[in-house]
Symmetry: C2
Subunit: 437 residues, 2 copies
């Protein structure tokens, strides 16, 4: 008999079926026992009255893997857990045969069947392989997978080509700081902080490219929004007029990501109690100096502090009904050397950030595309060309005006699901303190 | 006027349009000049008769980025390059205005407009940002992108969930050898050789998972089929009976990958002159000892040498008309400690390889799923449990019988496109000698 998943049970009323999964919970009442089985699709309730079967169930602790064969019937009463899991609501399995598919599990250090994980985050992270089984944790990862699928679909539809680039490089991408050094067959090398250089070079090949991959930042500080490895959703496109063309593609990409989350992870959103925000047809955009004013920052600031970003998020919601707001024209001094200046005001850049609910989610902008401009930009910063030679040299070969952006996946999912810490939406986070599991 | 791509020209006969791209080639004849423009979609021919425009074109070396406005007309004669590019065959642009979008390009060290790249592979790799612009090189990367899209689509359709896992780990995944060591905030760490442990742990969460990501092998040898960073297409699924369930999913995944290559990269296949192989409904499978016999290897061998794999590839084509062949039941001694033995013959494994045209392309198998079996397997190999504690411990928490596979993306694309060296289908390869560009 072919195994079916819990969300297929309602279609099999009256049939004898086989399900399999984990013992999510047992409720051993006097005259009857309920066995709640968790599988990839949700929860299923099994009603046990036979004393021999009950004895089997009593010997199978939570998280033991079991197979249950039984008859699907309309439910009489519902255990609270199943009532919450809409998948198999309304039916249950009766007259079951229960067979373990492995030895009895050693119960985890926290109860997975409770609506909320009561263990603190460090305990959850120490025990990630089981903590991630909790519906709230796995739901966030389903949202994450759906968001990535939406990112790719939106860009595929716009003729972007997916690329894979090196994660080990001979010189650091963004600056000398915060890089992980390693030994590459006896030579010094570094983990890539971003695919920035490579995605730009690939604009010369495909015009429009994207990459989904890990990036590494040796962040020495321990915050709720920084990870030492995170997943960067990178895109870059050529033949733009300026950064506004990039912002338009980003807007459509975000809309595609949210659509995909709604389409592919609807049940996960329900588990998390999350409503999707709308992406305005035109996301409000404020120029940096204006943004500082709105946020009440001093006029001589050259960057936005987290408090400013929060204030701007409030402003965008209040004034524009938008969860998203662009800040454009950051001062050149605070942007990387490959940033294109604003031709009208060269101390400001054609670089932008996108804030989502008051947190920086995306960084992007127009890049330099002329070889001479790269030489001048590095010289102005007192940086040698040599470490960047293979990159800078490519701009002698004909590169169109171009720009791009990078979305931090974990930040996006955390903001979307109201998780206060990016580690709650990361399967196995890596940070200053954490290298296992 | 909105820019259009070269493959949209035929729909605009009689119109004045704007295109943009790279100067692919100039043919300066006596009475007329032809300018071939390359963009993301292919090539377009521009006919220049006006002396002033001709002077502009003469000053724009190959690879300069240009914008051309002109009238689309049915073509009279065809430059050979465009005849080969079906996209805009039949039309050309006349009465053009030509405007450079950047300074004149410095011509690359090899001609990109010739049908074949004449430079040797090392020169191509040293100049990857321009070499990849050659239609043969970019076509292979388009095939690669399509193959990855097919991998994901096939598994999405089978309810697999995409995951992102750590690329920096506290202990090596497969064995102590061939790992890159790095300094993680003062602690020793390693680049992950595979997502093996993490994808197994995530079977406990989602039952079925996949990941597309970089893996790192400090391969000390320099061969045409090894890279120090490659893209691994990993899948893992729970509730299997044995490795044959895994092989069935792999078969369908490969078929999905090839379908996607046909659907999404048809023009790239034409450029490369490649016909897609068929994936048999049932890929022939031979047991390891039988495979050795077929390949003429000595009966006491415990692994297949490359020559054996080639002989098996020939055999599968000859006897079964299949480009693919499974070898099952490798000796346990040659498989990693997490491999599930064949219950009927415990010195042989439920592990398999898939050979594609005589080269190992996929490794997979059923894994151990009982905690006690992990302890015994490590003890039998004289390996301590401690470095694997976080992984092995998870098997106390209830894990279903499971298995999976890993496809090497670059090998797949190289075999598919008849590239003799995986570096030819890798944008920026990393190996023993190469860390740039």
């Amino acid at each position: 008999m072919q195994r079916i998943l819990s969300d297929q049970l309602t279609r099999h009323a009256g049939d004898t079926v086989r399900i399999a999964g984990w013992v999510h919970r047992r409720r051993l009442l006097k005259s009857v026992a309920f066995l709640i089985v968790r599988d990839a699709a949700g929860l299923a309730q099994v009603v046990v009255t036979d004393p021999a079967v009950r004895a089997t169930v009593e010997a199978l602790p939570e998280e033991t893997v079991v197979e249950v064969t039984g008859t699907v019937v309309a439910r009489r009463g519902a255990a609270a857990e199943v009532a919450a899991a809409t998948a198999s609501a309304g039916v249950e399995l009766t007259d079951p045969a229960v067979r373990p598919l492995g030895p009895p599990a050693v119960p985890p250090p926290f109860d997975l069947y409770r609506p909320l994980l009561t263990a603190g985050l460090p305990t959850q992270l120490d025990n990630a392989p089981v903590a991630l089984r909790h519906p709230s944790r796995s739901a966030a990862l389903r949202v994450s997978a759906a968001a990535v699928a939406g990112f790719r679909a939106a860009l595929d539809a716009r003729r972007f080509v997916e690329i894979q680039t090196p994660k080990v490089v001979a010189s650091s991408t963004e600056s000398g700081a915060n890089v992980f050094a390693l030994d590459w067959f006896g030579r010094p090398a570094y983990l890539a902080q971003s695919p920035q250089f490579y995605k730009q070079l690939m604009v010369g090949v495909f015009e429009r490219v994207y990459e989904v991959g890990p990036v590494f930042r040796a962040e020495p500080h321990d915050t709720v929004r920084h990870l030492a490895q995170y997943t960067s959703l990178d895109a870059e496109l050529g033949f733009v007029t300026d950064h506004r063309d990039v912002m338009a593609v980003l807007r459509d990409t975000l809309a595609g990501m949210l659509d995909a989350v709604g389409d592919r992870a609807g049940a996960a959103l329900a588990t998390l109690g999350v409503d999707l925000p709308a992406v305005p047809a035109r996301i409000p955009a404020v120029q940096f100096t204006e943004a500082l004013e709105i946020a009440g920052g001093p006029a001589d600031e050259s960057d936005l502090a987290p408090a400013h970003e929060r204030a701007l998020g409030e402003w965008a919601r209040r004034e524009h009904g938008s969860e998203f707001v662009f800040v454009t024209g950051y001062p050149m001094a605070k942007r990387p050397f490959y940033t294109h200046p604003d031709p009208a005001r060269p101390t400001y850049s054609n670089g932008f950030d996108l804030l989502f609910r008051g947190m920086e989610l995306v960084t992007g902008g127009q890049r330099l595309h002329r070889h001479a401009d790269y030489l001048a930009a590095l010289a102005a910063r007192g940086e040698p060309v040599e470490p960047y030679a293979g990159y800078v040299d490519a701009f002698r070969r004909g590169m169109p005006p171009h720009g791009g952006f990078a979305i931090g996946l974990e930040r996006f999912v955390a903001r979307l699901t109201n998780a206060p810490n990016v580690r709650e939406v990361t399967a196995f986070p890596r940070d200053l303190h954490r290298l296992t599991p």
